[in-house]
Amino acid sequence: MSTRDLVLVALFAAIIVVLGMLPPITLGFIPVPITAQSLGVMLAGCTLGARRGASACLLVVLLVAIGLPVLSGGRGGLAVFAGPTAGYLVGWVAGALVTGLIAERLVREGQPQLQQYLGFFLAAAVGGIGVVYLLGIAWLSYMSGKAFVETTLASLVFIPGDLIKAVAAALAGRAVLAGYPLLPART
C-alpha cells in the first residue's frame, strides 16, 4: 500500500467517525432514526474501491476495539463487540469490500450518469445492506439463543432506512467520482 493509499484509508475512516458524531435524522415514515455512519461505509466502497474501502472500515472497527468512542452516540470499547448487534459492525468490513468489488466492475468514468447511479446503488445495496445484514443476522441469531427467528424479523425494520442510505450513497458516490475520481477500474 502506497503512502497515499494509507492516508486515503485513514482520512475516510476519519470521515466515518465524523459522520457518527452528527445527530441522527428522523424521517416521518420510518420508525427508527437514521445515522449517517453506515452511509459512510457504503460510500467508502463506492469512493475508494474494495481494498481501500474495506481497510478504512477495518480501521474504524479497530478504533472501536481499542476503546475510542467513535460509533454514533459516542459508543465504543470492547462492550460493543460483546453485544448482540456486533455482527453489523464487523460486517462493515466485508460490506465495504463487496460494495467496492461491485462498484469497480460496474462504474467507469465517462459512462452516462444514469448508469453510474444504478451501478453505485446496486453496489451499496448488495454490499452495504445484503452483506452487512448477512453477518449481522448470523451473529444476532447465535447470540439470541432460541428466539433467533423473532429477532431476525425484528431487525428488518431497519431495511427501509438503509435503502434510503443506499440511494444517498449512489448520489454522493457519483458526485465524488465526478469531482475527484479515486475508484480503480476493474474488468
Binding site: A10, A36, G67, G83, L140, S144, K146, L171
Partner: protein
C-alpha cells in the same frame, strides 16, 4: 475531542497486564456460552458487575457507556421470554450482560497505547509474510485522531457556507464537498509523511 474510554486509577484491574485481561475476557466469553444454567450465569453477571464497579468509574458514566448495548440485550431476552421460556430469557440476559460488563471493565482500565502494543504483537505473524506493517496501523490510527476534529470543523464550515448563500442545508449537499475536500488533502499529507521518512 477524541479521547479514549480508559479512566485513570490504580485498582487491581488497572495494574493487571493488558494481555492477561484480553485473554481472560476471551476465556470468559467462551465459558459463558458453554454454561446454560440461569443461576450460574446470574452469579457470573453479578461478578462482572462487581468487577466493572471496582474500576472506580463514576456510576452515571458507567451506565451511559453500557446503556445502549444492554438495551439490545434486554430486547433479545424479551423476545426469548415471549416466544420461548423464562429460563431461556434469563440465561440470555445474564450471559450477555456479564459479557458486556466484563468487556466494559477491560476497556475502562486499559489505555489506548496498551491496546496498540497488543495489536502490534498480534500483527507480527502477518508482518512476517509481508501482508501488513504494524507501524502503518499505528500511523493510520494517529492520522484518524489527528484529522477527525479537522473534518468536523470542515463540516461546520460547509454548512455555514450554504447558510451564508441562502442555500438549504441538505445532508448530501454537505457530504459531497466534505468527502472531496478531505480526500484531496491526501496527496499533501502523503508527501509530508514521505518527506519525513516515516515509512521505509
Amino acid at each position: 475531542m477524541l479521547t479514549g474510554l480508559d479512566i485513570e486509577g490504580d485498582t487491581p484491574l488497572h495494574r493487571a497486564p493488558a494481555r492477561a485481561k484480553l485473554v481472560g475476557l476471551f476465556v470468559a466469553a467462551v465459558g459463558l456460552f458453554l454454561v446454560s444454567s440461569p443461576f450460574l450465569l446470574g452469579a457470573a453477571a453479578i461478578v462482572a458487575a462487581g468487577l466493572y464497579a471496582s474500576t472506580g468509574i463514576a456510576p452515571r458514566e458507567a451506565i451511559r457507556r453500557v446503556r445502549f448495548v444492554l438495551i439490545t440485550v434486554l430486547l433479545v431476552a424479551a423476545a426469548n421470554y415471549l416466544f420461548h421460556s423464562a429460563a431461556d430469557a434469563l440465561a440470555v440476559l445474564f450471559r450477555l450482560s456479564a459479557l458486556v460488563l466484563l468487556a466494559a471493565a477491560v476497556t475502562a482500565t486499559t489505555t489506548i497505547s496498551a491496546f496498540m502494543d497488543e495489536i502490534t504483537l498480534m500483527l507480527r505473524p502477518l508482518e512476517r509474510f509481508g501482508l501488513v506493517r504494524a507501524a502503518d496501523v499505528s500511523l493510520a490510527v494517529g492520522l484518524v485522531l489527528r484529522f477527525a476534529p479537522e473534518i468536523l470543523a470542515r463540516y461546520a464550515d460547509i454548512r455555514e457556507a450554504h447558510r451564508a448563500r441562502g442555500l438549504p442545508v441538505r445532508p448530501l449537499g454537505v457530504l459531497v464537498p466534505l468527502v472531496i475536500l478531505t480526500l484531496r488533502d491526501a496527496d499533501t499529507i502523503a508527501l509530508a509523511i514521505d518527506a519525513r521518512g516515516f515509512r521505509r
